[in-house]
Symmetry: C3
Subunit: 450 residues, 3 copies
């Protein structure tokens, strides 16, 4: 990766998408997917009509909004959708009326605990309308006047829009990469996921992959359910996956486990954190959260996890207007990208080898395979391997305390009996999968393992 270039791309996508008003249906999603398609021409965009039954759910009406405001008696737009699209409750029905403060008040939402922030609210499945505003502003509203309230929205038969693509690898087995694009101007939740989706695809397509990758971008919940209903048979090929969400904040890395807790994916991610020596917050699986709820439901049971940086629910600005581009930075997204690439790299490199000279040790010396500088007992080296590090100071350092090369070779040859894959060997020995894969490559070339 060229880090400075990628960070620039990251910031560019964040800026291009931020102001668009997205919801679970409508033109905001369409426009956003159109922009993503500029970066991922292979993305296939699909639409599913209002009223379509998808498992236990029905695709709702398409919602679009052109304008919305609350005006005071002087005609000033004191709450203005055009200034910040979070001001309007998502899926608000059209309104055009004059009303007292009292009447208006029952449709106002604030967050007294974070008085400068505009909260984000939705009402998808119950007809309603509302305005969200900062508690500070709310306290200054004049309770004695009449307000002009306008929401120029529409709820009509239309479509739910989503995108997917298949990146073919050597095997039919698939890894799912899913993100959601249904939130308005909220940067961490979930423009960060959308950006990583774009960058991850563009990195992975450079490689000759072992697994096939299924990339899916859709509105949360109803979109995932629609996608599963549409691809019920195809999803049987998916062995596991990731939901990309809330990974661009300044805070700590987190890891929400798959529902199995010890799937290959969990193990690869934990090795990644171990090898980068990153102290992260472990979140055991719970059936709330994002679309892992759908993918892992009893009918599918696909183990899906999330590497986060300021995870949803946990950061103070969650679901408020302060989850903006001051909070999320391209460089944080890049750090998350590195971890995702490392974890996926470990899964890609995870093979099971057989030492073809299993009786006693190999005589490394006569073959020139004895490491030149190796052999010092208990020597441990901090070094950069595996994930290519770039030109930026934000790059994470891969600094696993891995064994010296001779130790690593001895461990690899000792354990390579056809019953243990590289991830198991890495877990047992502390030697990074990347280093084991390098050794395997060298010994395979020498005809000593298969």
């Amino acid at each position: 990766m060229q880090f400075s270039k990628t960070i620039k791309t990251s910031d560019e996508i964040l800026n291009r998408l931020f102001l668009i008003c997205r919801s679970i249906t409508g033109n905001g999603v369409r426009e956003s997917l159109g922009i993503i398609k500029e970066y991922i021409p292979e993305l296939s965009i699909q639409e599913f009509p209002t009223g379509k039954q998808v498992f236990d759910w029905t695709i709702p009406k398409e919602w679009n909004i052109r304008d919305a405001y609350v005006k005071d008696e002087a005609g000033n737009r004191i709450i203005d959708f055009k200034k910040c699209n979070v001001h309007v409750m998502s899926y608000s029905i059209p309104v055009d009326s004059r009303m007292s403060f009292e009447e208006l008040n029952s449709h106002l939402y604030t967050l007294p605990k974070l008085p400068e922030a505009i909260p984000y609210r939705t009402s998808y499945y119950k007809e309603n309308w509302g305005f969200c505003l900062s508690h500070n502003q709310y306290l200054q509203l004049d309770k004695t006047i009449q307000y002009e309230v306008k929401i120029d929205s529409s709820l009509t038969n239309g479509y739910l829009t989503l995108g997917d693509l298949i990146l073919k690898g050597k095997t039919e087995e698939e890894i799912l990469i899913s993100t959601y694009c249904c939130h308005p101007s909220l940067a961490n939740d979930n423009l960060s996921g959308v950006v990583l989706f774009t960058l991850l695809y563009n990195e992975l397509k450079k490689f000759d992959l072992k697994y096939t990758y299924r990339f899916v971008i859709l509105p949360e919940t109803i979109g995932a359910i629609t996608y599963l209903a549409q691809n019920q048979e195809a999803m049987k090929k998916v062995i596991g996956g990731f939901v990309l969400t809330t990974l661009g904040g300044p805070g700590k890395f987190g890891y929400k486990e798959t529902f199995l807790g010890n799937h290959l994916i969990d193990r690869a991610v934990r090795l990644t954190f171990r090898d980068f020596e990153i102290d992260y917050i472990a979140y055991p699986f719970v059936p709330d959260g994002s679309d892992e709820r759908q993918y892992s439901s009893p009918g599918f049971r696909i183990p899906v996890s999330t590497i986060s940086k300021d995870k949803y629910y946990e950061y103070v600005y969650y679901h408020t207007s302060l989850d903006n581009l001051d909070f999320v930075k391209g460089e944080y997204v890049m750090q998350s990208l590195e971890l995702y690439l490392s974890a996926i790299g470990k899964i890609e490199k995870n093979e099971t080898y057989v030492n073809l000279n299993p009786n006693g040790e190999l005589q490394l010396g006569k073959r020139g395979l004895y490491p030149e500088t190796g052999g010092a007992i208990n020597q441990r080296v901090s070094e950069t391997v595996g994930v290519a590090n770039g030109d930026s100071t934000v790059s994470l350092t891969f600094k696993s305390s891995y064994k010296d090369e001779l130790d690593s070779i001895l461990w690899f040859l000792f354990l390579a009996d056809g019953t243990k894959d590289l991830i198991s060997i890495s877990e047992k020995t502390g030697i990074p999968v990347e280093q084991l894969a390098e050794i395997a490559e060298k010994f395979k070339l020498a005809g000593l393992i298969k």
Copy 2:
């Protein structure tokens, strides 16, 4: 349960039984079982003759005692069975003799470490006689005089007496409730077990039970062996059980595990302690103790456990005259009853359900199943559920930190795939079995699970 009424019953039984001189055979046991039968008319009382071979044992002679004393030269009863039946070693042969202090002394038993207490001693299988007295009294005995020693007892061919009954449930599988009634005036060991036996039966018979319950009351060891020998085939239906003993003291709750350590019974009891937030002493299984030794022996291997309150061996007054009605209270027995009922309730409610809409989440809202007040993330409620609490201040509070209702519903539907029972789900999620059973009931009525 009506607590005040039950405590009254509890105290009443304690008082009616306390003064009777019981042993492993004889009229004391008969009379005690007769009183129990007043509270449990269904109890079937059976007798097995002296000399009957029961596995490796033989039913001993029946022992009865009318009076016993040691008189000084002035004719004062200085040790008097009529004042406290613990004064006589159980199964003492008849004695009627004058003797020196020296001769008497070899038949006296005291407890120097607890000098005010009369110790409890037995000699069932070796012919012997003895008097037990407080060490304080012992020190004041006149060593220069002759004593008149009288034990008006008999050891004759007779019977071993025990009681049992079957409380039928929907399935043939049985849960064993066993207690022993062979100790004289000792309140915690084991009148407390006898009282709980009576109360537990009267509570359980109110319910439409899933399991069948086998209630057994008998003399310890020889009684249990006799019962097993007599019911060898029938015992194959018993999946597990409890020995009711030493559960009425003022001290800490304890739990002696089954020999398996992780049987359904162990798991249900541990969840009970968890949900009541009771800090208890865990006693791993050991093959001494009470009749679990017999029930769990290699030929039967029935997992049997004990919830105690001041467990045998552990409390200072164990096997002394101070284990009396100042030490044991009806309200302590009631607290143990509540725990037993809760644990049994969890076992009764433990079913395995299948979510009939396994693909993605159910849309709860359209069915009115979305909890009205639920949904606040990470909200935890302290509340009373499951075990109906009564009118008394001694009632334990069921205060599990269980999840809010939406979380509970999501977890239940996520895990209800036909492979996990409610006890497993409760262990994994922290949600009480009682709450899961309520959710299951609601979703079953709605036709959404089976």
Copy 3:
């Protein structure tokens, strides 16, 4: 064991072998094995020719050395092989030359961190020569003079020498006892192993053994590989074993686990440390170390472990001239012997019994099997059992906190259902295998178990 006699033997063997210059081939090994054969007449000594292919390796030329020195211009032997055979790098090619300090210097090896010690160096598979000397001496060498350098060695077609023997037991299953004899005057590494090898054989042959024991003494690595290649089929009977090494120092006991980590051997050794109440250093298996690398390689997978006392790599004098007879003592070797005998004793006594009266408890009293002094609850006795202790103050004390006899009998009869061996019962209960075996013997004689 008669301790004082055995310690004397131990010291005697140490003294007889210490000064001999051994390497992986040559007369030093031959002479050493000849001396061992005086103590173990059954030892079979075998030779394998230079050039023989053994798996991935080739037996190297035989190395012999008669003399070696560095003389100053005055003709003084300032480095003298005859004073200490560690002075010469093992497998040095012949040298006879005058040279400057500069030229000599590139063949000198010192240990600046331990300046009074002569390091031990080898160059088996790359032709080279060298002298080792203390860093203190090195600093005083005159850099301005010419030196006369002589190594009167030879590298010729010859043989690799090793010894083995089979000590037959009741079963065909074998336990491997392996040690190496290829180091010159180094006492802990590995004369201590050679001495223990001798003593252990002479102890074990006194007993009627269950397992067959394969004793093997050979040069490290190439010797073990040669032996495995020669006995590939026979090694299938070996269920596990020990490599005897570095067990005679004054420091802490250590235990290097088998590659399985929880093999019967690991469990027996851990019980030994437990029962002796010895705090030891646990070394997880790693594929460097000694010949367990070969025995446990994928083609053989024999679980092999090591009980050490000052383990190789870990003690300061490792591979230096200070690993001498001031450091290693016969009494330390004796302590290691006791642990080895205890661990092997547990493996030998490890049987699975069936209680023939499985229904309820046995009535011990009527059979006179009720322990006379037993029965006090929770009484724990410190006592010496199992390993016969001798007449020496260096003898270790077997002081397991084992259960009183009644408890032990109850546990044994409870668990003896044909599914648990004595080692499992010992792990679960804390009762030493030796005590369980005594109980088993008593109950077997009484016809109560099989």
